[in-house]
Every structure is written in C-alpha cells, then in structure tokens.
C-alpha cells in the first residue's frame, strides 16, 4: 500500500477518548508542583553533600579541644543520629516527590502540597534548632571546666587573667553563634523558602480553581 493511502486512515482515526478539560489544561500549564518538589529533594541531597564535604575539610587539631574535654564519644553519637535524621528527611522528600502527580485531583494535589510544606518546615526547624542547641551544650560544657578551656585557648601558658580569657570566649561565642545562625537561616530562606513560595502560589491557584467548580 502506498503511503499516500495511509493519509486517509490517519485522517479517519478516532478522536482521543480521554479529552482534557479547560480546567485540566489550566492545571497542567500552571502546575509545576512536581518540579518544585523535585528540587526540594535535590537541594536536600546537595546540602548533605556540602556539609559532609565541609566536615572533612576541618583540620584535625580543631578536634583537640573536644578530646581534651572527653566528649568525642558524645560528638560521634550525635553526628550519627544527625545523619540518620537527615536521611529520614531525604526519604520523606523523595517520597513527596514520587507521590506528587499531575493526574491527581485538585484536592489531593493540595493536600500533598501541604504535606510537602510541613516536611520542609520541620526539616528547617530541625536544622536550625539543632544548630542552636548543640552550640549551647558545647559552650556550657566548655565553660564548666574553665581551667581546661584556658589551657586550650592559651596553650603557651601566657600570663593572662583566666577570667578575661573566659569572658573573651563567652563574648565571641555570643557574637558568632547568632551571626552563623542568621547565615544558616538566610540560606534556608533563599533555597527552600523560595521553593515553598512557588508551591504556595500553586496552592493558591489550585484553590481558585476549586472555587470555580
């Protein structure tokens, strides 16, 4: 049979049975939820790689102070637990990503968006709170043994007043931790915050669509 004859067959083919409505088209054209959720997962992984990489770059003698205080065991357990929690979050991110689908009903999609937001929020809270709490714990531990701290800060045993050494440590901790916290917070605001905002807009659009029905 000549190709030309297939044109008729082609032309006569039945129309698509699963016609898509205007509302569906609107939803498809606007809904980038799934790609936003994918990025949340990817950034989560990149963040993990970044922090892990950074921890390898810390010079060995940085750990001396922890050895001096005999808290290496505690730190190791804490790090392990931290990684477990992060992995659990990443699994949740991944599950969010795979479960979100454009063929969901509007209501279901909205519920999933809410779930994604919740997961990300808890993830950020966990990281920020973890940062503050560990810093407070470590500072308290350090200050609990002023002599050890003085030895570590001033290994050469220069003739300085121990009280001014300790207050110096306290002041610099109080100054540095909030700044570091702010940087961390800003980082989350720029990455996840931006993605969540996109999701939010999406949610609002879906909400408007629901109202149309």
């Amino acid at each position: 049979m000549e190709l030309e004859n297939y044109k008729k067959t082609w032309k006569n083919q039945p129309e698509e049975t699963n016609k898509v409505s205007k509302v569906d088209i609107y939803r498809m054209a606007h809904s980038k939820s799934s790609s936003v959720v994918k990025w949340i997962f990817i950034i989560g992984i990149l963040e993990l790689i970044f922090w892990t990489g950074l921890s390898f770059m810390v010079p060995d003698n940085y750990m001396d102070i922890y050895k001096e205080y005999n808290i290496m065991g505690f730190l190791k357990i804490y790090t392990l637990l931290h990684y477990v929690v992060i992995f659990l979050f990443l699994i949740l991110f991944y599950k969010n990503y795979t479960s979100i689908s454009i063929t969901d009903s509007t209501k279901r999609l909205m519920n999933k968006i809410l779930r994604v937001r919740k997961t990300v929020k808890y993830y950020v809270y966990y990281n920020l709170a973890g940062f503050v709490i560990t810093n407070i714990i470590i500072s308290v531990v350090f200050l609990s043994k002023p002599n050890t701290l003085a030895k570590v800060i001033n290994p050469e045993g220069l003739n300085t007043d121990i009280n001014s050494l300790l207050s110096g440590f306290l002041i610099s901790t109080i100054a540095v931790v909030p700044i570091a916290f702010l940087i961390l917070w800003l980082f989350y605001k720029v990455t996840y915050g931006k993605l969540l905002k996109k999701l939010n807009n999406n949610y609002k659009e879906l909400d408007n669509l629901e109202a149309l029905h």
């Binding site: 049979m1 083919q13 039945p14 088209i25 054209a29 454009i102």
Partner: protein, 164 residues
C-alpha cells in the same frame, strides 16, 4: 488582560488538543508517559503563549511547540519505546464506529512510525497531517529543500518498516 489571554488560550488548546494527543501517541508508549508529555506540552505552550502573536494559526504554532517538546523530551529520556512490548505500544486506538481494516491499518501505521527516530517521526506526522512543505519546514526549523530531502528519506524508511 491576562485573564482574557488565558481564557483564549484555554479555549484554543481545548479545541485543538487532538493534535497533542496524536503526538503523544507517537512519542510515548503508555498512558503515564502520554500524560507526562501532554503536560509538558501544556507547560511549554502556556510559557510561550505570550510570544505567539497570531501571525500564524494557533494550530500551526501548536504543532511546532508540541513537536519540539516531544523531541527534546524524547532525547532526554532513554529510548524506552524500542524496549517496550509491541502490543503495549498501541494503546487505546479502539472505537466502535471505526472500520476494522482501517483500525488494523492504523495500528500498523503507528507501530511503524514508532520505530522511526524522533525527527523522522515528526516529518511523517506532519506528512500524514497533510501539511505543505513550507509549513513542515517552518515547524521543524529547517529549509524547504532540506525538508523535502529529509521527508523522502523518512518516507523510504517508513515504507521499509511497513513492507519489509
């Protein structure tokens, strides 16, 4: 203004959606992939709609954007079509008021086109849609002469697949 534009877009798209469905059938091998591609096309069309000035027909512009989306998506993914079970390839081309022989012919045609590469698929698709060479060239962004040459080759390949 935006609302007006949007509503026109939705009406046009809804009316011409069959074009996109046909492209999805050619470039995908199951309903999920079909839906994915359809959505991708919807996103691309809406994203570019503000640039569509109406100097061509909506449907003509739709052919271009949809085929581009299909081709680029197809390039990104591993070529799943070839490893699929052939019986799964032609899904849902069934209709009661459609002649049996024609149905078989159509299935054979889809099966054959699906074995072509992404560009040849687009060429044959536009040929079957009875588009003039000028439009085919414009849609695929190639010269008129090039379109003819490529089309002849694609047709030859298709003939070989249809009548081995």
């Amino acid at each position: 203004m935006q609302k007006e534009l949007e509503s026109k877009f939705l009406t046009d798209f809804e009316q011409h959606q069959n074009i996109v469905h046909k492209i999805c059938r050619l470039y995908t091998s199951n309903q999920d992939a079909h839906n994915d591609l359809f959505q991708e096309v919807a996103i691309q069309l809406w994203k570019n709609y503000s640039k569509f000035r109406g100097d061509s027909k909506f449907s003509t512009w739709m052919y271009r954007v949809a085929l581009n989306a299909a081709i680029s998506l197809y390039r990104k993914s591993t070529r799943t079509v070839k490893t699929q079970d052939i019986s799964a390839l032609i899904y849902k081309i069934e209709s009661k008021d459609y002649d049996d022989t024609e149905e078989l012919q159509l299935k054979a045609l889809y099966k054959a086109i699906q074995q072509l590469n992404d560009i040849d698929k687009a060429l044959i698709f536009l040929y079957l849609e009875d588009k003039p060479y000028k439009e085919i060239a414009d849609t695929l962004g190639i010269s008129n002469v090039n379109a003819r040459v490529k089309m002849n080759r694609a047709k030859e390949k298709l003939k070989k697949v249809l009548n081995p």
